[in-house]
């Protein structure tokens, strides 16, 4: 048993179990400055070579070029107005993408700050000797630029230095400041071996000295890949984006056909149309709105992930997140707090609950484990922080008296506790353990621990536990175990008298607040949650029932996890999971959305397709929501764009043909000023709606978890019906202004 004198203040260790408030990177509102800085990029985006992949926008630009020629050869106010607004349409489309990219770049530059060149101390040794994991740090080193490091190189990093690249710690243990990447200021421990060996390039070593084996070539680290993605330079279209683009292309083709064949019909009917007007009609009909915003929506989706400190290797993964059917969640740290917490006090014999509480509290005061603190929290919550002196062993404010000695937990004793000194001002009237003569029987020892260990300790003091108390104790211990908890037995000894058992503290896995509601939401979204735990089936089921997950994988080995993912995938379901250990790597690689924790091994990070810089497994749920929001935004704006066409027909067709067939004027339901103002208003509306919707495309359509039918109904109402109605009002308003243009 190790005894530590408790004079120094306990170290302020962070509570790993408590949920962290979500941290967002600031500066998300769209500002004019952003728009202006995106303008040069937008002008570059007008290059027709860049538009081959988006036929919708190519048609707009070709149309604008054609009307320019017409306006030059036959200039008038109308021709130039239409031409101007057609170019504006093309520019706005390019601007939308450029703004999204600029925001991505801003995001990326904050990441890039971590990627500066540093000097690395590279270990000089023949490659074949570098296999050994000890003594590497003693080898001679040479300073090289970090950019020249290759996979397999070994470098030495000492306190105060920047880690030159992504790698695994092969020797040593140190605290690292990862705030440059995660924004989290508390340092983290990185050590060789085990699941906390990965270090990220650009982070700073705060203490000690470690030897790191580089695992990623420079320029291809996770952060590098993410920068490329948010900047748009390496953005590939996701499968759904490709399919949607195909639909838009075919709609464009249909309308090109409809407008191209309109001229023969017009000629037949005796009213040849201006090419200018036909181009205006075509540009209004093709789905320019969604065509212009499509890439911005995709970039913004990636951007939203980065705001939540998640790095994704591909846009595809973000999209897949929206499709996830099954979420595998580790019990510990995700569903429950990382540690067990005291939840009930079960006294035995004639011991009062308050008595057990006071003893358990004293024994836990100096115990800095989360379990220990949870006992103090429970007692204080139930009985209040005691400021009444309990038998003289209490100080004001509930602290431990001077000179108390902590008995630390050890694997041999499986107990911990505290030895309290004899208080100088013992009042025999207050404390029955003090003899009537005023002499105290001796110091007071309190122990808590596993039932068998405490029983053995009590026996060793010569005590005989009465039959009924022993039976009651056994019953309590059994009940707690069956409920999925851990029984902690508390006993005390005063002076040399035999020790006595006070009762049992029920330590249980506490499900995090709001988890049940979260799972209910997920169920409504059609996502099944599976809790994965190493606990036995009974314990696991008890916690699963409490948390409200749909399924449990108990006594899970990494192989079980992998098998479960394969089974679900064979049933056609998409699986998402979070993991950090090397043994999670196969499962992360197999899952459709694998989120690796930044604190995890590089093997895990390589296997997954996302990394959560906050190492918060609960983030999975947010990632799913971001994926869904991305798809919803695309669908909503597509619907809106197509629905807009109805009103545009009502504006343009009467304008084109009411000269020929005066009866068609009835279709001019908006009562637009003149045929020319009607056509121009439709073109202007078509251009402006792109700008109006840019913020929505960047922010994403509001998403609240609910069933598919509810979502469909709401979005159809807002974007379908809204898309039908909005342009009638918009075009009419624009027409009121446009009609005032002289010479139109």
């Amino acid at each position: 048993m190790t005894h530590t004198t408790l004079t120094q203040a306990p170290a302020p260790a962070g509570d790993a179990g408590s949920p962290r408030p979500p941290r967002r990177r600031p500066g998300r509102a769209l500002t004019w400055a952003q728009v202006c800085s995106a303008l040069p990029g937008a002008l570059r985006g007008l290059d027709p070579r860049a538009l081959w992949r988006t036929p919708v926008l190519l048609v707009v630009e070709v149309g604008a070029a054609a009307t320019t020629v017409l306006a030059v050869t036959d200039p008038d106010v109308f021709a130039w107005s239409v031409t101007l607004w057609l170019w504006a349409t093309a520019l706005f489309a390019a601007l939308a993408e450029s703004i999204a990219e600029a925001r991505g770049r801003a995001q990326a530059s904050s990441l890039r700050a971590t990627q500066q060149q540093t000097t690395a101390r590279k270990v000089l040794a023949p490659l074949d000797t570098i296999g050994a994991a000890t003594g590497l740090g003693d080898l001679p080193t040479t300073d090289v630029p970090s950019g020249s490091l290759r996979v397999g190189d070994v470098v030495v990093v000492v306190a105060g230095e920047t880690i030159p690249g992504d790698g695994d710690v092969v020797e040593g243990v140190a605290s690292v400041d990862e705030s440059a990447i995660t924004g989290e200021s508390a340092p983290v421990i990185r050590e060789s071996g085990g699941d906390r060996c990965a270090v990220t390039g650009g982070t700073v070593l705060l203490s000690d000295r470690i030897v790191v084996r580089v695992t990623t070539p420079p320029g291809q680290s996770f952060v590098d890949r993410m920068i490329a993605l948010v900047e748009g330079s390496e953005r590939r279209r996701t499968p759904n984006e490709v399919a949607l683009n195909l639909l838009l292309t075919s709609l464009t083709a249909v309308f090109v056909l409809a407008v191209a064949t309109l001229q023969p019909f017009a000629v037949y009917s005796g009213s040849r149309q201006d090419v200018l007007v036909l181009v205006a009609l075509l540009v209004c009909l093709i789905p320019t709105t969604i065509g212009a915003l499509l890439s911005a929506i995709g970039i913004a989706g990636m951007d939203r992930l980065v705001q939540r400190n998640v790095l994704a290797v591909s846009g595809r993964a973000v999209e897949a997140a929206g499709d996830v059917d099954v979420l595998l969640l580790d019990k510990t740290g995700t569903i429950t707090y990382g540690n067990r917490r005291a939840s009930a006090l079960l006294p035995v014999g004639r011991v009062r609950e308050a008595e057990l509480a006071a003893a358990a509290r004293l024994a836990s005061l100096a115990d800095d484990t989360p379990e220990g603190r949870s006992v103090v929290d429970l007692v204080d919550a139930r009985f209040g922080v005691p400021d009444v002196v309990d038998g003289g062993w209490h100080l004001e404010g509930g602290g431990l008296p001077q000179g108390s000695e902590l008995v630390a937990f050890s694997a041999q004793t499986r107990m911990s506790g505290v030895d309290l000194p004899l208080h100088p001002h013992v009042d025999p009237l207050v404390d029955p353990r003090v003899g009537p003569d005023g002499t105290a029987p001796g110091p007071r020892r309190i122990r808590k621990g596993a039932a068998s260990a405490v029983r053995r300790w009590v026996g060793s003091t010569g005590a005989r536990v009465p039959q009924d108390v022993a039976a009651q104790l056994a019953a309590h211990v059994d009940a707690v175990s069956r409920a999925g908890g851990t029984p902690l037995v508390v006993a005390e000894q005063v002076g040399d008298a035999p020790a006595r058992v006070l009762g049992v503290v029920h330590l249980k896995d506490v499900v995090k607040d709001g988890m049940r509601e979260r799972f209910d939401e997920l169920r409504a979204m059609g996502i099944r949650t599976v809790m994965v735990t190493g606990d036995n089936a009974v314990t696991a089921q008890a916690i699963a029932d409490e948390a409200g997950v749909d399924d449990v994988l108990a006594e899970a080995t990494p192989e079980d996890k992998l098998a479960l993912i394969r089974r679900e995938q064979e049933g056609g379901r998409l699986v998402a999971m979070a993991g950090d250990g090397t043994n999670d790597a196969p499962a992360l690689a197999q899952s459709d959305v694998g989120v690796a924790m930044a604190s995890g091994t590089s093997a895990a990070k390589e296997a997954g397709n996302m990394v959560d810089l906050d190492s918060d497994p609960t983030k999975l749920i947010e990632i799913v929501e971001i994926g869904k929001q991305l798809l919803i935004t695309r669908g909503a704006l597509t619907t809106f764009s197509v629905a807009n066409d109805v009103a545009k027909y009502f504006a343009i067709l009467p304008a084109m043909f009411s000269g020929l067939f005066p009866q068609l004027a009835v279709l001019n339901v908006m009562q637009l000023g003149s045929p020319r103002s009607a056509i121009l208003s439709a073109v202007i509306f078509n251009a402006l709606i792109i700008l109006v919707l840019v913020p929505l495309a960047l922010r994403g359509v509001r998403y609240r978890p609910s069933s598919a039918s509810a979502l469909l109904r709401r979005n159809l109402w807002v974007f379908g019906v809204g898309g039908l109605v909005a342009p009638f009002a918009g075009i009419k308003l624009i027409d009121l202004v446009v009609s005032l243009i002289p010479g139109l």
Binding site: L246, A253, V254, P264, F265, G572, V646, L653, L667
Partner: protein
């Protein structure tokens, strides 16, 4: 003039009776067809036939092989029909008619093979009994069976999971469609028609002197047998030029209702078959709901237009009765017209050219939608399923998942096929019409200038491109120009979509089905039904708005 209460009641009563009959037949026939296409049993007759044509009816075909079988069979049909038409004067029962000219024979061969039954000729003045029986009537059966087979192949694509793109056996599907579905119903229907006065003989056309001393040709022929399959197979090619307006084809209101019933029978029962085969009858209800929704709206609009008779001529005459049979009246003509254009039938009991402008416009729009309300036998189902996929894709994203329909993800490959297939018919119709109104031989056929003439040409290409076959009458289409152009339109309008649908079926069959969850877009609720109908109206309809505004819309508003 407004329609009297009595005519409205009569129109409503007739519609209710029709819906009741269709409703009664829906479930049993749908379930029966599901059994037919999934059974492993071959009748003795079928086995004999398979031996003759040397096919193994149990071999599952890859979609390419299925398509090759469809195309090969159809090519053989075209050639056989072309030969019969060209050589009919050398064959028995020619009734003294000469062989058809090359362009005419090509047009007729394509027309009947593609289930269009566009007729540039008058049956009683150009086609002998052998051509009618062995050529046209046979094609009435098999072209319908081809449509049903392709639809079933697509349904199998949805129902199967993770196969190697095998979607059934064309020869078995074709044979069963004819032997187990079309033939039995046709026999019964033909007997009912005969009992009501439809003729069935092999007599030549007889010249008689009437009581007033005038000379009249009384035609003869195996009409009832051909009439039944003409409606049941949504073919529409009349034995006589006047089609179902001819008293020997359609003598009285009972046969009229029976014929409308036969037209709609299989197209409205197939969604049931679909629902059963994909293991979720509600999906069948949804498809049927979208079909009937559009159908009922069209019936209501057309009936209103014909009864109210807007326009100068009907107002002056008191009713829009020109070109309609007084035996049936306005409402029955409107109902027949919507049934025949909502399906790919094209049989008529009144001249669509004589419909009021809005009435004719609705009938035309029915075809332009791709004939999905409820569509031709088979073709209607696969057309509507394509639209359902389109609806799922456009709106499905709004629930936050990659769009999926019946457990199949709609990705890039599926979308390519759907996009092409939605593009095909508008392209054929718009380009064909534009060419026709721009060149001299095309303009020569137009009877009336102005919006009505444009409608005539548009109607012809809509009818051919969608394999309907009904004519707007005003257009003189028996010219080499129109025979060739419309023949091409029919061919492309039939086989391009079939090829795409089979390719889609193959893709879907090889895809693994995804189980539905609460996060999946529900495709069986009224909301989705409305969505599909709206997508059909907006996406397909919007394409034709410009040309319609110059045709029927301009005419209606004048």
């Amino acid at each position: 003039m407004s329609p009297t209460t009595l005519t409205i009641l009569a129109a409503g009563g007739q519609l209710i009776l029709l819906l009741a009959l269709l409703g009664a037949a829906h479930a049993p026939l749908g379930a029966y067809m599901a059994r037919v296409y999934s059974s492993s049993h071959h009748t003795r007759l079928e086995r004999g036939w398979y031996r003759v044509v040397r096919v193994d009816p149990d071999a599952q075909q890859h979609w390419r092989s299925y398509l090759m079988s469809v195309l090969g069979f159809s090519l053989a049909s075209v050639l056989a029909l072309y030969g019969l038409g060209r050589l009919q004067d050398h064959l028995p029962w020619d009734l003294g008619f000469t062989g058809l000219d090359p362009a005419g024979a090509w047009n007729t061969a394509v027309s009947f093979t593609t289930n269009t039954n566009w007729q540039w000729y008058s049956g009683e003045a150009a086609a002998g009994h052998l051509l009618q029986m062995a050529g046209l009537a046979v094609q009435n059966f098999v072209s319908a069976a081809v449509g049903m087979s392709v639809a079933i192949a697509l349904v199998r694509g949805f129902a199967r999971s993770g196969t190697d793109a095998r979607i059934g056996n064309f020869w078995a599907d074709l044979t069963r469609s004819v032997v187990r579905v079309l033939l039995p119903i046709s026999v019964v229907a033909a007997l009912v028609l005969v009992a009501n006065g439809v003729i069935q003989n092999l007599d030549p056309h007889t010249a008689v002197t009437t009581m007033t001393g005038g000379a009249q040709h009384v035609p003869g022929g195996p009409v009832a047998s051909q009439e039944a399959i003409k409606e049941l197979g949504t073919n529409g090619g009349g034995f006589f030029n006047a089609n179902s307006a001819h008293p020997f084809e359609n003598p009285n209101p009972v046969t009229n209702l029976l014929e409308i019933f036969l037209i709609l029978l299989i197209p409205t029962a197939l969604p049931r078959t679909f629902g059963i085969l994909v293991g979720d009858r509600r999906q069948g209800w949804a498809i049927l709901g979208a079909m009937t929704g559009l159908l009922l709206v069209a019936i209501a609009l057309t009936t209103w237009a014909e009864l109210a008779g807007p326009g100068a001529a009907p107002q002056a005459a008191g009713a829009a009765t020109e070109g309609k049979e007084t035996r049936f009246g306005l409402a029955a003509s409107a109902l027949f017209a919507v049934a025949t254009t909502g399906t790919s039938t094209g049989a008529v009991n009144a001249m669509h050219d004589s419909f009021t402008a809005p009435g004719g416009g609705v009938v035309l729009f029915d075809m332009l939608l791709g004939e999905v309300a409820p569509g031709g036998v088979g073709a209607g189902l696969y057309g509507m399923l394509i639209l359902a996929i389109l609806a799922v894709f456009v709106a499905g994203l709004m629930v936050g998942r990659t769009p999926e329909y019946l457990g199949k993800k709609i990705g890039r490959g599926e979308m390519t096929i759907v996009a092409l297939s939605v593009l095909t018919t508008p392209a054929i119709v718009l380009v064909g019409t534009a060419v026709a109104v721009s060149v001299e031989p095309g303009l020569a056929g137009v009877q009336e200038p102005g919006p009505h003439g444009l409608t005539e040409v548009l109607y012809a290409f809509a009818s051919a491109g969608n394999n309907n076959g009904s004519a707007f009458a005003g257009l003189t289409s028996g010219t080499p120009f129109y025979n060739t152009m419309l023949g091409l339109a029919m061919l492309a309008g039939r086989f391009v979509p079939i090829a795409l649908v089979l390719a889609l079926a193959g893709r879907l069959a090889s895809q693994r089905s995804v189980p539905a969850s609460a996060g999946t877009l529900p495709t069986h609720q009224p909301l989705f039904v409305g969505l599909v109908a709206t997508v059909a109206l907006v996406v397909v309809g919007l394409t034709f708005v410009p040309v319609l505004s110059l045709g029927p819309v301009a005419e209606s508003l004048s």
